[in-house]
């Protein structure tokens, strides 16, 4: 006992773990107490075991310590052997496996739900993208071709030539008046009526500006020979009802 106490205070326990005590030629009591009792361990080299044996043969105190420890080890071995096969009750494993199944079942369900959510979201995005693309495609197509319009919408966009006439009376040029209608509104031709434009169509035509005079519209003489694009609203009877200058 005393040997243990002394060794614990001053012995090689306080030395670094890898101190080369195994490599020294001899062995003193402190070293014996530190490693001599570990002779069953694989970490102790044969040479070290041999030196511990040699020391125990010449040191009565260490011999007695070794005998005591071997006896204690026998008791401990008996205790360890008596419990070697001791296992927790089977109910522990059953409970744990139940918990394991519960956890992973819940996880699987969560994964499935997550996957379904993502799949739905992806499908929604695809549908939206396709719709937008189709709409844009339709829009591009519609601006390229002049669509036919119904009478009611034409009636809404038509503006009476009286406003234009009042503009003339105010001293503004026809070019300016027509240009002011370039926002997409039609200028109703004199003598036509919005009521007569059911099933009318818009026809884009190229003409010299001077031809506008044939519709009864004022023309700037300086630019009368210019070629311009004009949208003509043609009524169901084939007569022009209104015109506009597209951008």
């Amino acid at each position: 006992m005393n040997a243990f106490r002394n060794a614990s205070k001053n012995g090689p326990m306080n030395a670094p773990i890898n101190a080369p005590i195994n490599d020294r030629p001899g062995m003193d009591c402190e070293e014996f107490e530190a490693i001599g009792l570990d002779s069953r361990r694989d970490s102790i080299s044969d040479e070290c075991r041999h030196r511990a044996e040699q020391h125990a043969r010449v040191c009565a105190k260490c011999w007695a310590l070794r005998v005591s420890w071997k006896a204690a080890q026998t008791e401990l071995d008996a205790l360890a052997e008596s419990n070697e096969e001791l296992m927790p009750p089977a109910r522990v494993e059953t409970r744990l496996l139940q918990q394991f199944r519960l956890k992973h079942q819940a996880q699987r369900e969560r994964r499935t739900l997550k996957f379904a959510t993502w799949a739905l979201a992806a499908a929604a995005v695809l549908v939206c993208t396709a719709s937008v693309w189709n709409w844009q495609k339709w829009r591009q197509g519609s601006t390229g071709n002049v669509p036919s319009v119904t009478g009611s919408s034409i009636a809404e966009v038509l503006k009476p030539a009286t406003s234009m006439q009042s503009g003339i009376q105010a001293g503004s040029s026809a070019e300016v008046l027509l240009a002011s209608n370039d926002t997409g509104d039609f200028t109703q031709l004199p003598g036509s009526s919005a009521l007569e434009v059911e099933d009318a169509a818009i026809v884009r035509v190229g003409m010299q500006r001077a031809s506008l005079a044939a519709f009864g519209l004022p023309v700037n003489e300086e630019r009368a020979s210019d070629w311009i694009q004009v949208d003509v609203l043609v009524g169901s009877d084939g007569s022009p009802q209104a015109v506009r200058l597209p951008e």
Binding site: F4, R40, S68, W69, T74, S82, R95, L96, F100
Partner: protein, 210 residues
């Protein structure tokens, strides 16, 4: 009487790899992998907990808690920091401490199998009832001597002497340097020797019967 020695280094590495592979599979939901892990490590953890708490139901609870941690948070185990058994011992040790704080220590330790068969003494044909009783009594005394050791020495003695873990494994399990393990083992042995001194002169008829 002498038991098999601890595995060589290579075998340990292979076992660690195997443990990690099983844990990976278990984390993915492989029940068989989890059951294999449990059967591999539950025994040593249970014995450790039993010897540290002195209570069979306490040990049962501790083992269950350790493996519940493995079920709930398998990612808590970091192979870089040590082996899986060391990780499991670490959790078990914390649970033991909490258990001991919560409840008074039960010195009387009767380790029984689930089927009710007693303290694990293997009956030999040559055993007489007197020998059996004597051996049983001696084992109870050794158990009591181990249980009476201070906790830090007891856990080292249990791991290194009874479960025959290497110093390195014990150091990982108890999360301390190897030098501390050596020191604690040295003192634990000294205390244990003193406690077992009284057994030394007692008759050991059963041993001659083996």
């Amino acid at each position: 009487m002498k038991r098999k020695r601890p595995d060589p280094h290579e075998m340990k590495i292979r076992e660690n790899d195997q443990d990690e592979a099983l844990l990976r599979l278990s984390a993915k939901g492989d029940e068989e992998a989890f059951a294999t892990l449990y059967r591999k490590h539950a025994g040593v953890l249970y014995r450790f907990a039993l010897r540290m708490t002195g209570s069979a139901w306490g040990a049962e609870e501790i083992v269950q808690d350790v493996f519940m941690t493995l079920i709930r948070e398998p990612a808590k185990y970091d192979p870089e920091r040590g082996t899986l058994p060391a990780f499991l011992f670490g959790i078990a040790r914390n649970k033991v401490m909490k258990h001991n704080e919560r409840l008074p220590r039960e010195i009387s330790l009767v380790e029984r199998q689930e089927d009710g068969t007693g303290g694990g003494i293997t009956l030999r044909d040559s055993f007489t009832p007197a020998m059996w009783a004597e051996q049983r009594e001696r084992l109870e005394k050794v158990r009591a001597a181990v249980m009476e050791l201070p906790v830090e020495f007891r856990e080292t003695v249990v791991l290194c002497e009874l479960e025959e873990l290497s110093y390195e494994q014990a150091a990982q399990a108890l999360d301390c340097p190897i030098g501390t393990i050596r020191s604690r083992l040295h003192r634990g042995r000294a205390l244990l020797l003193a406690k077992l001194e009284m057994l030394r002169d007692a008759p050991r008829r059963w041993r001659s019967a083996g």
